[in-house]
Amino acid sequence: MKLAIVIPAYNEEKAIEEVLLSLPKKLKNIDKIISVVVDDGSFDKTHDIANNHATYAIRHVINLGVGAATTTGLGAAKKLRSDIVVTIDADGQHNPKDIEKIIQPILDGKADVVIGTRMLNAKGMPPLKIFGNNFMNFLTFLVFHKWSSDSQSGMKAFNAKALKKIKLRSIGYEICSEMIGEIQRNKLKLKEIPIEVIYTDYSKVKGQNWINGINVLTKMLVIKIIGK
């Protein structure tokens, strides 16, 4: 079994080294672990750090958005014939120890996609973020008719079947909602596993804001109406 850990990153020189160094080196039932950093056109040292510590450091020539970087990372994982792919954020808000937890349902054959949900144990999450995430869950459900307790989570695991079937076109944050739509469209088995969120001053300022919510809704509707 080969596990690829995909990390989309944009100007993350302050956090990415620690994230890469803390990734698991060995996991039960996994023969090989590779890390794939997709630098989305950063103008800091993100790419250099990724070159030093990641198995593969991919660079976007221009900044497109987290969705584009994630799609490229998933494409790389597919090319590298990974059996399981995990995506995590580069800002250090995810605990790498949770990777073992979220791949378990895939290893057991109980899920095609696993979402590491922050909302089932939202301790430490600012109330505004809790409200914002629930609002996005509601919007995602409204557009794609599939409920997730944390549709915007960056920590997800996919098996090879899901990787093959999911077709993404989003380039921004709307990719999280689009993935929920793809899980629904392809009738993939979804499981949610509670994960820990590490909120530092650094990770708190990263992520989505309110205006972006409107943008995400518009893009979701475009994807739904116009299609891919």
């Binding site: 991919i58 221009i62 497109l64 584009a68 790389a76 090319k79 014939r81 116009i226």
Partner: protein
């Protein structure tokens, strides 16, 4: 309120015309497009400052008189059609750029058999 709308239209119009002119000077836009946007926005400014001109123009041009509301409705449909076309084109371009950037990023990764 009407005076406020007129001022906003005037300011917006002048902003667009000056931006078009700057783009033309920087050779980011062709002479034809510069003239097109300038004429179009001068027209918009004139109509917003003297809306009664629409009625007069309609009376002169139409054999059968149509109301200002109908005229604005037709204009709105036309504008939304343009917005839709621009949005579709922007989406297609976004996808092409995404595909190109992705291909460039992945070109160094060899297929592992």
């Amino acid at each position: 309120m009407i005076a406020f709308v007129k001022i906003i239209s005037l300011v917006l119009g002048l902003m667009v015309i000056s931006k078009t002119y700057l783009d033309y000077k920087k050779k980011n836009e062709s002479f034809f497009m510069f003239i097109f946007w300038t004429v179009a926005w001068i027209g918009i400014i004139i109509v917003s400052l003297f809306p009664e001109l629409i009625n007069e123009a309609l009376e002169i041009s139409s054999a059968q008189k149509i109301g200002t509301g109908t005229f604005l409705g037709i204009a709105l449909v036309f504008l939304f059609f343009i917005i839709y076309r621009v949005y579709i084109k922007a989406n297609r371009l976004e996808k092409k750029i995404h595909d190109m950037v992705m291909k460039l990023g992945l070109k160094d990764i060899d297929d592992e058999n």
